[in-house]
């Protein structure tokens, strides 16, 4: 539970108001549904009245024709009721679906712009829970909750008025139980809310666990870890069940408690009212009517509390959803227009100016880093693991914002440029190539419809990927999730093709050349030459051989830029680079 700390006390009213905002665009269907509900409620009064008419008027008069008229009216009422209910149910539920659609899209859109930092802390499985399970819990609120609450409150007021008008003293006696109802409801509310929160936390955990263990299933199998993984899963599964069972307890107490309170009211009326009947100050008919009313009085209350459950679940979910939606986005895009609006972004001079950066607090991974990359230059970045190489790329693409200092393109801080303009300059090739399920073509062009099939074939050809793609069956060959059936080298080539297809002015490579066989590596180096042609390049690599012909090599050590220069210069310096270089080639 420590990873999803249980939320502080939030106010239902505030949450409710916020949820109602989502209803606003659909006020028309909501109004229709509301009208249908009220009309339906009114129509429900008709059949008993018709029955009364039959018994009091038509039967004594032996009026068969009148009976037929009543029958016809009855039938018409039934059909009208049917129609109203259909309208009510389908408009309401459809509105619920539309709202869910809006909410899901909003969450998803937010996830698309939220800081990459956020993904470092939140497992994908948990975020999926927000988009699917939590939103569905909210759905209930809109379909069975909010709007029909009006009907219940309406009924409650009408019955209370009728009771007071019949006999206000007896009414007050019956109302004695109301404070108790409030108490019980309060108790229920507090506890159920808590269990609902727990349930949400555990279902998110289940999702996160499933996501990780399905992705890593072969590792689990190879290490015969099934029993232990199962035990871990079982622990989460049990906790989820127990949280649910706790909520069952509160329900199981609450429903009967309300019912018993109803019986208390009936007993009180019978005892006190019965006494009055004996004394002759009350008619029997009034007493019977009163008991019937008090029974009806508890029905909407029970109904309301049922909706209250739905509300509880929805509130717990909406808290989590809003918490996600309220997560501030630190990396904000500047308003478009700053870049001068020249369609394709130019390379520009990229400069790091006294950049400091920490992923957490003061744990700096970059310290006072300054360097400049002129258009067309090829820059290599080297350094041991943890030297801060990857961070440079993360900052350049604004996955994160600098803690201190600034990064500029042609003297303009990248935070003052539209995010799209910044990222449009760079073609990123990551070490772990991420492929999506779909086709090879779709993985090359991603969503960019400007890249046609011929373009895809051309770039595949250019990066030497065409032969293996052809062998697989062409660019429409299916790729499974994460490209699991392709080799590392093949994925690498596809990611080059992707970068080339987008034709960025600056190429950014992250250890892109580290894990491929010599044969393929020749293909790749060849492809890289194509890729780097006419482009500014910033490349990270462990192996010096790939960056020796760079225009400049930056040597990072523990977050600081320690050396910079051409290969020969650096070797001659006999510093860090020289040592790294010797380490690499010592054996050969």
């Amino acid at each position: 539970m420590q990873d999803e700390e249980v939320l502080g006390k939030a106010y239902d009213a505030r949450l409710m108001r916020r949820l109602l905002v989502y209803l606003r665009p659909y006020w028309r269907p909501v109004l229709i549904a509301l009208t249908a509900i009220l009309a339906g409620a009114a129509l429900q009064l008709v059949p008993p009245w018709l029955t009364l008419q039959v018994i009091d008027v038509h039967i004594p008069a032996r009026d068969f024709n009148g009976l037929r008229v009543i029958g016809a009216l009855y039938l018409a009422t039934l059909l009208a009721e049917f129609l109203l209910e259909f309208i009510q149910a389908s408009t309401l539920q459809m509105t619920g679906q539309r709202i869910m659609f809006d909410l899901r899209t909003q969450i998803y859109a937010h996830l698309q712009r939220i800081d990459v930092r956020f993904y470092d802390r939140n497992p994908v499985g948990r975020l999926m829970t927000r988009v699917t399970t939590d939103v569905d819990a909210l759905n209930e609120l809109f379909t069975s909750g909010v709007v029909s609450v009006f009907g219940d409150v309406f009924a409650l007021i009408a019955i209370m008025t009728a009771m007071v008008m019949l006999d206000w003293r007896l009414a007050l006696i019956a109302f004695v139980v109301i404070p108790l109802i409030v108490l019980v409801t309060q108790w229920f509310r507090v506890h159920v809310r808590q269990t609902y929160r727990d349930v949400r936390v555990w279902i998110a955990r289940i999702n996160a666990f499933l996501q990780e263990h399905i992705s890593g299933v072969s590792t689990v199998q190879l290490f015969r870890r099934e029993a232990q993984s199962f035990a871990d899963f079982d622990a989460i599964n049990v906790a989820h069940m127990q949280a649910n069972v706790r909520s069952i307890f509160y329900y199981a107490v609450f429903y009967p408690a309300i019912e018993i309170l109803g019986a208390v009211a009936t007993a009180l009326i019978l005892w006190y009212g019965g006494g009055e009947v004996i004394q002759g100050s009350l008619t029997l008919g009034t007493l019977v009517a009163f008991i019937q009313y008090s029974n009806r009085f508890f029905r909407p209350i029970q109904d309301l509390s049922e909706k209250f459950n739905v509300l509880q679940g929805a509130m717990a979910s909406s808290e989590r959803i809003f918490q996600l939606l309220d997560t501030p986005v630190a990396v904000q895009s500047a308003a478009p227009g700053r870049s001068g609006g020249s369609g394709r972004a130019d390379t520009g001079t990229i400069a790091f100016e006294q950049v400091w950066f920490a992923y957490n607090d003061d744990d700096f991974v970059l310290r006072d880093v300054s360097f400049t990359v002129e258009p067309g230059q090829r820059i290599g970045i080297v350094g041991a693991t943890g030297a801060g190489k990857t961070t440079v790329i993360n900052l350049l693409l604004r996955f994160y914002d600098v803690t201190r200092g600034r990064i500029t393109i042609d003297g303009v801080d990248i935070r003052e440029l539209p995010l799209d303009d910044v990222r449009a300059r760079f073609g990123l090739v990551l070490q772990d190539v991420h492929l999506f399920s779909g086709t090879i073509a779709a993985n090359v062009r991603l969503g960019n419809s400007d890249i046609g099939d011929d373009d895809v074939r051309r770039v595949l050809q250019a990066v030497n990927a065409a032969p293996f793609v052809e062998a697989l069956g062409g660019i429409e060959t299916a790729v499974v999730e994460r490209g699991a059936t392709l080799s590392v080298g093949q994925k690498q080539l596809l990611s080059f093709a992707r970068a080339l297809a987008f034709d960025p002015p600056v190429l950014v490579l992250d250890e892109a050349t580290s894990s491929i066989d010599t044969e393929t590596e020749v293909l790749i180096r060849d492809a890289l030459t194509t890729l780097m042609h006419g482009r500014t390049t910033i490349a990270i690599a462990h192996r010096l051989s790939t960056i020796q012909d760079m225009d400049r090599i930056l040597v990072f050590h523990k977050g600081a830029l320690r050396e910079s220069g051409r290969h020969q210069e650096l070797v001659a310096q006999r510093g860090l680079y020289h040592r790294l270089y010797e380490l690499q080639f010592a054996r050969d």
Partner: protein, 593 residues
Amino acid sequence: MVTGKNERFDTGSGQLTGFIVRYRGRFALGLSCVVLTNAIALSAPWVLKHAVDDLQASVTGGKLRFYAWLILAIAAAGGVARFAMRSVIIGASRAIEYDIRNTFFAHLQRLPLAYFHANRTGDLMSRATNDLSAVRMMAGPAMMYATSTALTFVIALAVMASINLRLTLMAMLPLPFVTLSSRYFGRLIHQRFERIQAQLSNLSAVTQEALAGVRVIRAYRQEGHELQRFRRANEEYVERNRVLIRLQGIYYPSMGLFMGLSELLVLWLGSRAVIEGEMTVGSLVAFNAYLAMLAWPMIAFGWVTNLVQRGRASWGRIREVLDVAPAIDDAAVTYPDLRIADLHGAVEFRDLTFAYAGQPVLAGVSLRIEAGQTVAFVGRTGSGKSTLLALLARLHDPAPGAVLIDGIDVRAMPLATLRGALGFVPQEPFLFSTTLADNVGFGRGGSEPDLAAVTEVAATARLDADVADLPSGYQTRIGERGITLSGGQKQRTAIARALYLDPPILILDDALSAVDTQTEAEILDRLRTVRRGRTTLLVSHRISTVRDADRIVVLESGRIAEQGRHDELIARSGFYAALHRQQLLEAELAASN
């Protein structure tokens, strides 16, 4: 909850009833609570009737108090019964949900790799949560309401029949329509719901992939396109729901309509009967009151049908997964008692031919490896090196041909023994988001990782220096909820993880590709010492990695092209010699620059 875990773990798929039968005691108790609840609820009006009758005659205050207490007592008893009913039945449904989810997960763990290539993660996750929730609603609430409904129905009908049989029969005229419509709509709801759940799965899968690939999407500015893709899936989900909502919108009120028709028939025919003197007004009123008691069961019936249809559709989707036979299992085991300690590590590939998704990968590979040998595999990307190793670990099963360890077909030994004997380091290591120590000691079974052993293997894998720099050493969390390791660190962690088992056979599938050559040399050196007398199979693209192996096997297009020691292969001037020359040249170039 913890005892009997293994027993549950071994339970295969089976019917839903199997899961229910497991809790038959609880269900029996719960259903008797339903009967009790209803019996008590029906007795309350009866007390009221007597009280009113007594009031009509004359009554003492004491008697009145008695009635008041009786009503309270009945309500209290009813409350207890209702409490028991809810906690027992809904509790049992939660237990079933828990059981099915465990079974589902245990089953997933037994499925072969190929299954996960063919099915998306988000889809499987959706079945384990969303679909399971619909199944639970069927096993719990639907069952509870169905029993309660049926009971009320039968009792009310019996009372009505005792008042006027003819009228009762008349009132039942619309009943066949109820049956017909529930059948018709039930089938449609089932189909629509299945389609909805399939789309929900799709939505989950789309979300899962996009969130997992967030960096690529950002870097290539595909947020808009991804949002469009999501909106399409989302729109389709709403669209499929729309159809179901219409169906339900007709189905639910239709139950009320049929009920109303019954009431209408009773009122019409009943009042005629009264006029003709066949029936008293009092009886008609009472009859109507009981008919009204049927209204709720009728509506609940519609609701229950809906729940059951949804539950069945979802159960079908869960069954789809549970019914997949684990293609790789212990079915052909002939040495059930074979233990890891019995294995020496001699490996033989016998005439192996293998195709993946229609693409031939291996063609008639035969190779014998003595126990204790180190054998390296080299070859181009796609030449079949990784497949060969995957077949040894039975990540796939070979057909035709065989893989043998110590002369025993790997399919003839228990999977647990086979995999326990292998320390497998895959090309792209998958680490779990837990501590580094837990990842290294991943194959340890249930116990806590032995820190001394973790430290030892980490030193062999040259992970020790890196760990010293980490904030909490081996207790540092990695992955999604912790720090991100570099590619080289991941590979070395995976090597340590394999070494932790001290396996008779170690498999390094290009496991040092992201490690620099110097560290690689050190790791290989230490491995030679630590693993003296044990079999090691390794794939690499670097001559430096493979040159000291006892034998080097060159694969080309799924066939063995060359094999021998480093010097022998150099002398043969084939692929290996060319590779060697190329890498030598590179090194020289690099050094002379």
